[in-house]
Subunit: 353 residues, 2 copies
């Protein structure tokens, strides 16, 4: 089992984390290495293993508890493991998304033996795959008490910015029906693809809303992500289905978002296929204010859906803050700027020490 | 090898033809039975075998030559061979499409030993499959002289009506381009599916033309037969392709039809994928007039594409006339009314004897 030195330079620790492959579902070795390192090098923490996840927390009886969470899985390796340094950057699979964040949290787990707030660390599995496999979901079911906190910080790549809350996402299939006929006698049919014009017109002319919440500007979007129709080269199609993805600001809850989309496509057959509510930024929480003061940064809206929404659903304000670069996530050339790792450690130490 | 009695009742001959399975590509046994019967029972004909096709003709030095052609292949059998009689109808795979027509022609081949016009009979293979396998195409390449005629009659099912010429058909892919983006930041993209609205609008508002030629009314159609676009559930699609089928009256040739479609979709990327020109009815030809007089029927336009277009391309007027029911073609319950077989024999005998 690889040895991890949590108290060493967090940049070296990030490289060591990258060097232990941990594609989703195969995080066992990395989880064991982290568990062993935490037990040996952070005796002030209570440690709990959960599948391929590792949990650790202080139990100091502080008024507030801050939870720091990072997924330890990566997308499939693309010839970019082990890590390498080049031009002052640290390259490798997961370096940005999000072993840089994991390294910051693991270092602080060992370094902060007397923090201002109680701390919970969650290093979890299977964030990069279907939601049903997500390690946080399993932890919520099996170790619900471990997720209690006044503020959750996810170490997802944000280039060191604070991204608050997240937008929700839902998908619907909008079906248009017609009547099949041989295309040589097309007047006997009713072309469902032609009729889908009305659906596309509503999409093309849709005015997406922008909303400001807690100083964060959210920007919605209603987009066809798929269209399909057709039976054969000589048949008037009797069905056309447009799959639409609605990204909605967190001032709409799940029911309101669905209602809105059904109104937009009034008159068509609308089937909901996927729905993940968003998360309000929750920056009114004192612990969140303290954290913002420590970073000195203006928070911005998180537009993509992230696991902060899981914490929001539990009533816990949550935000994304990590040293990785979101634009490099999942790329072959994934890398991280070591200065952002060092900066994140400094910011969080200022907040938590 | 099954024995075929060409001079027996043509209804019994039709049943005998149905009883020899001849799914496309597997017409060898039926072709051999027909060849043997023609050689033995129609000594006035010169007989030529070509693959799974059989050709036969008189060489009487008449002024005019009439060609009677029927495909002997069928679609796959659906528990409907051998033939059976039920309620006065003859049931079985290929009974309508088009062994009824074949029976009429094979009967007349043996019965008419001193016809008014020279006669050519073509019993050919692989009409029900891809055009490239069509037996008439092979005969055109290898025995071009056998297709010479002043009028060609195809025995395709028309319920005893005369259907003249045929419409052409072409297919184009109309592509709409956009720019990919994550659907959480859709304003960075340009949704190709939304933009396809303009293509569908042109289809939905297209005014299809009707044209009368030689007393036959052709009715055009421009129909989307397929639409496809989409990359993933969270991606703004950068491409949407609409496949369009244009059925065009035979007063447009292939080039004019293509030009028209390109004009309809002006501004979009149009790729021609398939083009079969139509055939003018050619009813001005004296032999065609004689045939119409014998039937006593008003000719109507053939809207679907058929092998008459192959003859038209060779400069030979061609029409469809057969005892089968086109609405039963390719169905499990395929059957034919024996009275229409008898009527077709009478009509053609009146015309040719």
């Amino acid at each position: 089992m690889p040895h991890l030195d949590l108290l060493a330079d967090p940049v070296d620790l990030c490289a060591a984390l990258v060097d232990v492959p941990s594609v989703s579902g195969e995080e066992g070795e990395l989880a064991s290495a982290l568990e062993a390192a935490l037990r040996a090098q952070a005796p002030h923490l209570r440690v709990q293993r959960s599948g391929h996840a590792v949990l650790a927390r202080t139990e100091l009886g502080r008024d507030k508890r801050v939870l720091l969470a990072g997924h330890i899985d990566t997308v499939p390796i693309a010839g970019n493991v082990p890590s390498r340094r080049d031009g002052g950057l640290l390259h490798g699979c997961g370096s940005s998304d999000m072993k840089a964040g994991d390294a910051v949290f693991a270092h602080l787990a060992a370094a902060l033996d007397d923090p201002r707030h109680d701390l919970t660390f969650v290093f979890y599995d299977c964030e990069e795959v279907e939601a049903v496999r997500n390690g946080l979901g399993r932890i919520e079911r099996e170790h619900r008490d471990w997720l209690a906190a006044d503020l959750a910080i996810l170490g997802e790549p944000t280039n060191g910015a604070v991204e608050a809350g997240c937008q929700g996402t839902l998908r619907v299939d909008v079906a248009v029906r017609g009547r099949r006929a041989h295309s040589a006698r097309s007047w006997l049919g009713d072309n469902a693809v032609h009729k889908a014009e009305a659906v596309l017109r509503r999409l093309a002319t849709y005015a997406a809303r922008e909303v400001e919440i807690d100083g964060c500007r959210y920007r919605e979007g209603l987009q066809a992500v798929r269209i399909a129709g057709g039976v054969a080269g000589n048949v008037v199609p009797d069905e056309c289905v447009v799959t639409v993805n609605f990204r909605f600001a967190p001032d709409r809850d799940a029911a309101a978002a669905e209602k809105h989309v059904r109104e937009v496509f009034d008159g068509f057959e609308v089937t909901l296929t996927d729905l993940s509510p968003g998360a309000l930024p929750g920056l009114g929480e004192p612990a969140a204010q303290e954290f913002l003061a420590a970073t000195g940064a203006e928070p911005t809206a998180k537009l993509g859906w992230t696991d902060v929404a899981r914490f929001a659903a539990l009533g816990i304000p949550a935000l994304n803050y990590g040293p990785g670069d979101p634009n490099l996530a999942h790329t072959r050339d994934e890398h991280v700027d070591p200065r952002l790792i060092t900066e994140a450690v400094d910011v969080l130490r200022r907040f938590l020490a």
